[in-house]
């Protein structure tokens, strides 16, 4: 079994790694009760040998993403097991089928193919090729359009909606928690509120720490909000356009007629897309049909013989894409801490604090501390009278999650909000990102990144994983920042989609919120062994 590149890093060994005990029972298709023998040939294939001597090759049992979600054996995705179902080959298959359907005139079978791309994906390619993020996005757009993809969206766009909703959720929760008497029970109004965007963390919590589930924000991740946007809002838009254009001669676009793929820094996003909460039963469809990693996009281009440095740069799609690919202030993990802190400083205390201020740490309203290591930061809002208004933290990586879990377990957690991410250094270092080992053939960096690389190819070749991550983070931050509320096209979408009530509407709740459930750990061994 080959492990993903994400597991080959030795200097950053803080990932949640696959468990040894996959306990998912595999369904056995027993065809007869007659006793048979099993034979193994030289290539390692298994054959069932019947009494009459005939042998049948046995199929290898395969495990799907849904199996992994339902199993408590592994604590998270077990990247090595589950990639088969969602790979870049699936995208190519869909595009091929579209071509055949078009050639044969079966237009109703043609799917609208949409690819949503994460900004961390752009950052990893921009770092590898020493080009700007905008150039990177323009080249990837060109590659995907040439393959036959219809639309390319930017998950920074849906992330703004995720940020706005989570900030509102925090303020509500904070007010409720402060109004209620201190309670011993852990409820959905307890503090701290914990970020929900990292599926590795959410999956880990569901499988091993059920007591923290009530603390996790209900806001869907940018990927899944983009899923709702494409499968519902965008489908409706398409239908309206088509009715206007063609007087209803074509059938309606339903969620199952859109194929939505996202490109993510992280393998656990594949698991997230497979959650039952994001399944659309009426149409037997998913909000996000397939997730591939940045590394798999790289592989796809390599297989297609695409010479990335010489790809044309074409204009970006304008729909669901931020102008200049602007980002929210904060780290490459999305800026949850920064935005929620600035929003609630205003809402709860009437203080003017910008996300940029929090990112730079430049404000008398802030106190910033590195607690243990770079992956555990505390950011407090200091009120004009000198008291602490809000206590936030960002904890990245498995070890810091452990410390946080213990604080919550023994009720010594002072934080109001924690941005939790499973990977050390956050999303920029996701298991699906490009790795420095792959960079040996690249020429020295030219813009912005040359400082990190020292001088010339030798330094580049010797680049440590940590330096590579720092470079990618810096490259990500070359994007201009924009307050999520200043994303005007998004405001239009919210108004259009949810009506006058906007984010207070039930419809918004339906499309922007989710839930979590604990997975019972099997303890059969204890019962049998008794020691």
């Amino acid at each position: 079994m080959s492990f993903s590149t994400g597991l080959s890093l030795t200097d950053l060994n803080d990932y949640i790694s696959p468990s040894q005990s996959c306990i998912k029972p595999v369904e056995v298709n027993k065809k007869s009760d007659i006793q048979q023998a099993i034979k193994i040939d030289q290539t390692g294939d298994y054959y069932e040998v019947a009494h009459d001597g005939t042998s049948t090759k046995l199929e290898t049992a395969s495990i799907s993403l849904n199996d992994c979600l339902a199993c408590s054996g592994c604590i998270t995705s077990a990247e090595s097991v589950l990639i088969a179902l969602q790979s870049h080959k699936e995208l190519l298959d869909v595009l091929d089928k579209n071509r055949v359907a078009r050639d044969e005139g079966r237009l109703d079978d043609v799917k609208v193919v949409i690819v949503s791309i994460s900004p961390q994906t752009y950052a990893t390619f921009a770092s590898k090729y020493s080009i700007t993020l905008l150039q990177t996005a323009q080249r990837i757009t060109s590659v995907l359009k040439n393959l036959g993809v219809d639309h390319i969206f930017d998950t920074s766009f849906s992330r703004d909606l995720s940020l706005i909703r989570i900030a509102r959720e925090f303020v509500d929760r904070y007010r409720t928690a402060k109004a209620a008497p201190r309670s011993a029970t852990r409820s959905e109004t307890s503090l701290p509120m914990l970020a929900s965007a990292c599926p590795g963390w959410v999956c880990y919590a569901e499988k091993t720490h059920d007591y923290v589930l009530p603390y996790i924000s209900k806001t869907k991740s940018p990927q899944q909000i983009m899923g709702s946007l494409t499968k519902f809002f965008f489908a409706d838009k398409l239908n309206t356009q088509r009715q206007v254009a063609s007087n209803d001669t074509l059938s309606t676009i339903t969620p199952d007629r859109i194929y939505h793929l996202s490109i993510m820094p992280c393998y656990d996003k594949k698991l997230e897309a497979s959650r039952e909460d994001f399944f659309i039963p009426d149409f037997n469809a998913k909000e996000v049909d397939c997730v591939i990693s940045s590394g798999e996009l790289d592989k796809l281009m390599e297989e297609r013989g695409i010479d990335f440095p010489n790809v044309d740069e074409v204009p970006l799609d304008r729909l669901f894409t931020k102008r200049n690919l602007a980002r929210a202030a904060g780290t490459s993990s999305g800026g949850y801490l920064e935005y929620i802190l600035s929003y609630s400083a205003r809402e709860l205390f009437g203080l003017d604090l910008k996300g940029d201020d929090v990112e730079r740490g430049e404000s008398s309203l802030l106190k910033i501390e590195t607690v243990r290591n770079a992956d555990f930061r505390e950011v407090s809002l200091i009120l004009p009278d000198g008291s602490v208004g809000l206590r936030f933290a960002a904890t990245y990586g498995f070890r810091n999650i452990q410390t946080l879990m213990r604080k919550i377990k023994i009720r010594r957690c002072q934080y109001d909000f924690v941005e939790v991410m499973a990977c050390p250094s956050g999303c920029i270092n996701g298991g699906g990102q490009l790795k420095p080992g792959l960079l040996e053939s690249i020429t020295p960096a030219v813009n912005g990144s040359s400082e990190a690389l020292g001088n010339g190819p030798l330094a580049l070749k010797a680049m440590k994983p940590k330096e590579w991550i720092q470079l990618c983070e810096r490259v990500y931050r070359t994007l201009p920042t924009q307050d999520p509320m200043a994303n005007l096209p998004l405001q239009d979408v919210v108004h259009d989609w949810f009506g006058e009530a906007g984010l207070d509407s039930q419809k918004a709740e339906r499309f922007l919120a989710t839930k979590y459930r604990a997975l019972e750990r099997e303890s059969t061994i204890t019962a049998v062994v008794g020691w």
Binding site: T10, N13, S19, Q20, R372, I410, R412, T526
Partner: protein, 329 residues
Amino acid sequence: MAKIKLLAELKGHHDRTWQISWHRSGQFLCSCSGDRTVHETKPVPVDHPLVWHCLDVLEGVHKRTVRGVAFSPVGDDIATASFDGTTGIPSRPGYECVAPLEGHENEVKSVAWSHTGNLLATCSRDKSVWIWEVLGDGDFECVSILQEHTQDVKMVLWHPTLDILASASYDDTIRIWRDDDDDWYCSATLSGHTSTVWALDFNAAGDHLVSVSDDQTMKFWRCETPHELTSTGATLRFRQDPTWKCVATLANHHTRCIYSVSWSKIHGLVASSSGDNSICIFAPDRITAAHGISDINCVQWNPSPDYADILASAGDDGVIRIWQVTDVE
């Protein structure tokens, strides 16, 4: 030939005894067992370890076997490793009850305090080694989760004077872990044993290691510090870690798996215990049928100069035996 005398038998446990840890004073010890308890036991009077009294039975902390126990090298804290997947920091008189450390997926096999008592390491069947920083007052911060072993990790042990950790595994290797700017990494992998490495111990100086294995051998490893680099800045980018070289292998002393080893920090004698029911002492000497027909899971030299001739052993018979070893060359 050494003179070895059985001084006492401690028969409080109701199931096999797994491990012993001496208090740094050498005046009492604690032991853990399949009966899910930890016993703290003391000789009376202290100077004549012939009659021992159980001072305290810690029970109710763990739901399954307590596989490992360790006294802090400073203070009086103990830590326990249990098959229930948790690491106990049992409450003691006058101490607030501290919640056990969680995180391992399954059986915790061993627990160890660093020389300052500021770090605590654990290992588990889940193949991982965890390091916690001890902040006092029940606060622990997880410093590292090391997942390089490819199989069950049997034992963790800290260097006697430095923050360097060693671990022994079912993957037949020993790994040495060091700290670089708050990131722990594997600085050396010691290969040579042909089966599970069950236990290890450092000498007093910390420049030698002894390991024992299911392959029935005992190996001695010497730490070799690489030559200082004098070349240009570029090469300084690479870490230079000491390497560990196997300098001796002792075979044919035990006829079955060797489970435990203890290297006295006082007189330098090494004691080993085995599934062949014997304890060996090197300069080699043997106590046959030290626990009758039972496997011997642990031997521990008394750490105090005042009682350096005292050796304790724990066996599958549920008994702790106290030995006196004298007249060694």
